[in-house]
Amino acid sequence: MAFMNISGWKISGVAAAVPRNVEENSDYEHLSSIERKFLIKTTGIERRRVAPKNIVTSDLCEVAANALLDKLKWEREDVDLIIFVSQSPDYYLPATSIILQNKLKLSSNCLAFDIGLGCSGYVYGLSVIASMISAGHLKKALLLVGDVSSSTVSYTDKSTYPLFGDAGTATAIEYDEHATAHFNLKSDGAGHEAIIIRDGALRNMVTKDSFEVKQVSEGISRCALDLELDGLEVYDFSVKRVPVMIKELLDSIDRTAQNYDYFVMHQANKIMNETIRKKIGFSADQTPYSLKNYGNTSSASIPLTICSELNNSLKVGKNRMLLSGFGVGLSWGAVDLELNNCICLPIIEV
């Protein structure tokens, strides 16, 4: 396990951008109307934002970052570090973060690199930035996190298409000698096939067979370039291992659910999330959801939920937060931190 107590950094602001286009799950014609109703009831997902072909993850993150930089009145040359966390980069290479360094007009003294993670990516990304900022040489950083998952799912796959929405986010982090946070991070590659896109990288390069759509089971047809998600395995992993990891973290810092103002977890689906919430003893009031209007937004789901549900609650005063991301990899983690007068912008539509 990776317990890390990292001092010297704080989150100053969060922004999130989503595509303007909305898809309603009640209109998902691949399912019967009865199945759509059941899907909405069990997943909690009524609608999702879906990007058109000309908008990619970095575009959404760029919009969020610009809005956040303007709101915080940060000078661009003062940003020392940007990290882009996504499973939907612009290109194989170069790293998308470096392209964003240019688009955001940041200094060439700014460090920039990508992290290829999904649902756990926000917490992992915070741990990396926190580690780099805490040394004291870097003062200001941007964590850009998001995915356009809609580009990777098959319309004729009822186990994925109606779950995923698109979003890009920006989180501003700066040096603060008085602040501390506590992380617990884990990974298990034995579960790598639970959520996977099989073709398109080096293990299985693209061939014409990659495009062949095959029926996997009733209501599930996809090609090898589409996302596969084993719902049973992912549920089993999430409800067994995430609560254990969170309890380990809380025990290590002698805290309980009652010590927190909010618990913001990755927005997977309502059944899974509610099972986790109850297992670790957080109340419904402590646990905001963005599932209903945005779906599963992968790595962006934690900052998106903060902006969509807590943007008024967090801007004044101190709030103790528990954040937890879990999913593809398998990879999972949580962070205990305090937000102090944190700027959270309302959701931006692109």
Partner: protein, 88 residues
């Protein structure tokens, strides 16, 4: 004693079956579903329905079904016996 034990199992499985039906009653007609029927043969069945049953069993019986157990069980009775065996 054997007949008494059968009655206990019989009452329990009826309760188990009714709990499963209750999860889906708002959306599907499961009135004729019996203990020896395979709910996964329903044409609307999906992994989401499996998750609903797994979550129900977790909440009601404090038992976590493994994904393989859910996949391999054919009838409601087989699911019930897995839960019963795990309960001890």
């Amino acid at each position: 004693m054997g007949r008494y034990r059968y009655k206990i199992l019989s009452m329990d499985i009826e309760d188990f079956l009714e709990k499963i039906k209750a999860e889906f009653v708002e959306d599907y007609d499961l009135g004729s579903l019996g203990a020896d029927d395979n709910i996964k043969n329903m044409d609307w069945w999906s992994s989401m329905h499996a998750l609903v049953i797994i979550a129900l069993i977790d909440a009601e019986y404090d038992i976590m079904l493994e994904p393989s157990e859910m996949r391999n069980a054919s009838t409601v009775r087989e699911l019930f016996l897995i839960v019963k065996n795990k309960k001890g």
